[in-house]
């Protein structure tokens, strides 16, 4: 494994790319821009305000701005910037950046697979794919070329999926599922019988574990910062899976310790003591008890219980944003690349939220987004009082 380099050697390989990503930090929508945006009455006003931000160029073509257009333009812009970074990166950083895209690839592959089973047009599907998770177009097209029977799916898996960067996660998943199903090798069965969200959650779990292992092998600041971020993310997934499984078949006592438990990543602060407690949780109350044992999650849980305005998702988003901003603030490590992509994602969510609110005239809800790099962010003010 190539080292990332410390304080004195990091810049030799990655200084330029790191400086690039830090330059892109300027493109984040500022506090005052957010303020102006929230004051808008119509989408035209919003567009006018956005033309002065970094998104101006990408929004020029659209005559009228809808939240969907804005989202698409912003995601495309992020993808272009990311590709630029990727093309400048070398050895461990390049791999690191690829790891970031794997998450989106998982999403795209799942969409392609499901779309294929439903018999949709490949061009339509490709158009819907997330630009960050694109892989070779020939590979994407070949996904639909396979026959829709057991043999076709086995071929699909052996010829196409295995070669994609996320193939390893698929093979892990299939292995584990076939152990459970009993009859091995029936890939279509596994793919069809398991709900797509569960496959996705499993793949995400393998992805998180793999990413975590990769980051800790890099060592140095990168390991310190990224492992924390990924641990928190893994815990978020575990808590979310548990919370959202209530009221679904996954919460059946027989499924709890097998199927649901398999979705908990084997990294993170909750693992292993917390996750085994989560596996036993049968309702919100018992989940709350587990969360209350971990100070970091107790507050998020309190949000869920007390406040209807802000959900647990908001609390998690907020904490993620704080972590990512902090990751952005130290130098000479890879965490800032991950943080950049995640913060941009949050920003896109914010902008879509604001424009949706403006469009639907929900004036009182418009401020419920999470400001980025803001001096007024709640976690900064808490720190200031301390």
């Amino acid at each position: 494994m190539v080292e990332t380099g410390g304080l004195s050697t990091f810049n030799i390989q990655h200084g330029y790319v790191e400086a690039l990503v830090r330059g892109m930090r300027n493109s984040f929508v500022s506090d005052s821009d957010y303020h102006h945006l929230t004051q808008c009455d119509t989408l035209e006003d919003c567009k006018l305000n956005l033309t002065e931000s970094d998104y101006g160029a990408s929004l020029q073509n659209d005559s009228t701005l809808t939240p969907q257009d804005l989202q698409k333009a912003a995601v495309d812009k992020l993808a272009v910037e990311f590709q630029y970074l990727r093309s400048q990166a070398v050895a461990p950083l390049a791999q690191f950046l690829d790891f970031i895209t794997h998450e989106y690839m998982i999403e795209n592959i799942m969409m392609l697979l499901k779309g294929t089973m439903a018999g949709r047009d490949i061009n339509e599907l490709i158009a819907q794919a997330h630009p960050l998770g694109m892989f070779k177009e020939s590979t994407m097209r070949s996904v639909v070329a396979f026959e829709s029977n057991a043999k076709g799916y086995a071929d699909l898996y052996q010829c196409v999926l295995v070669d994609t960067p996320v193939g390893a996660y698929f093979s892990k998943f299939l292995q584990e599922s076939s152990q459970n199903v009993g009859a091995a090798g029936e890939i279509r069965n596994v793919l069809e019988e398991t709900e797509i969200e569960i496959i996705k959650a499993s793949l995400m779990k393998y992805y998180l574990e793999d990413f975590y292992a990769f980051c800790s092998s890099l060592g140095g600041d990168t390991a310190t910062i990224m492992c924390e971020i990924l641990s928190v993310r893994a815990d978020t997934q575990a808590i979310n899976v548990t919370l959202n499984s209530f009221g679904t078949p996954l919460n059946d006592p027989s499924m709890r310790s097998t199927d649901r438990r398999r979705l908990y990543p084997s990294v993170g602060f909750l693992y292993p003591a917390g996750t085994s407690m989560l596996a036993q949780a049968s309702d919100e109350e018992s989940l709350g008890q587990v969360c209350s044992l971990y100070p970091g999650y107790a507050s998020a849980w309190a949000c869920h219980v007390e406040n209807d305005d802000r959900s647990i998702d908001d609390a998690f988003f907020e904490r993620d944003a704080a972590l990512h901003e902090l990751a952005f603030e130290s130098q000479m490590h890879f965490g800032c690349f991950y943080a950049y992509v995640k913060l941009k994602e949050q920003e896109i969510r914010n902008l879509v939220w604001i424009t949706e609110c403006v469009m639907q005239r929900q004036k009182e809800a418009v401020n419920q987004f999470i400001p980025l790099f803001s001096q007024h962010a709640p976690w900064r003010q808490k720190g200031g009082r301390r």
Partner: protein, 196 residues
């Protein structure tokens, strides 16, 4: 040179490091001192410029205004190389060729001041080393600070001056080296003629 009293096991006194080092000529020591002094200073400077430069060009992609202002970081790094050059010239000035009358057939005559000669040789070597090593440290340190300076300036122009002060302190490390080096070498005059 009094080769009789050498006590070497081999003919040219080159069997193992201990023989090489104990029998090296003070002129050799002095020249190595100059070489290390200049060489390490340039390594430090180059390293610093690399660290600063890569960040500077990267940050200048999105914030072109920083590109000329932050050249000052590069100049700070360059300064360490200049310290090395100055030191090399000073040290070189201390090394004098002995007068023709002081040796015969490559062997110093009676009355050659061996003590001063060896003192000067080690002195020049070590002052070169002091300068070189401090300059490597200073160069890297200025480089790291300069890299951060470029990035910080790109985000927030008001930070530039503040980080520049940090950089100046890093640069001062090299000056400590050169001061000590000069003092060290001051008394290290190579003898050029016989006593009397």
């Amino acid at each position: 040179m009094s080769s009789d009293a050498s006590g070497c096991q081999s003919a040219y006194c080159n069997q193992g490091w201990s023989e090489v080092l104990t029998h090296m000529s003070p002129y050799g020591w002095g020249s190595f001192g100059i070489a290390f002094g200049l060489g390490l200073s340039v390594v430090g400077a180059a390293w610093g410029i690399w660290l600063t430069g890569s960040s500077l060009v990267g940050a200048a992609v999105k914030a072109p205004r920083i590109r000329s202002k932050n050249l000052i970081s590069v100049i700070f790094c360059e300064a360490t190389a200049i310290y090395g050059v100055i030191m090399a010239i000073v040290l070189n000035g201390l090394m004098k060729k002995p007068e023709d009358s002081s040796y015969v057939d490559g062997v110093f005559s009676e009355g050659w001041d061996y003590n001063t000669w060896y003192f000067a040789g080690f002195g020049v070597f070590c002052s070169g080393l002091s300068v070189g090593l401090t300059n490597v440290a200073s160069g890297i340190s200025v480089g790291v600070a300069g890299s951060s300076c470029a990035l910080a300036d790109a985000q927030d122009p008001t930070l530039f001056v503040k980080i520049l002060i940090v950089e100046i302190f890093a640069s001062a490390l090299g000056i400590f080296g050169i001061i000590v080096g000069i003092i060290q070498s001051n008394s290290s005059q190579f003898p050029d003629k016989l006593i009397n």
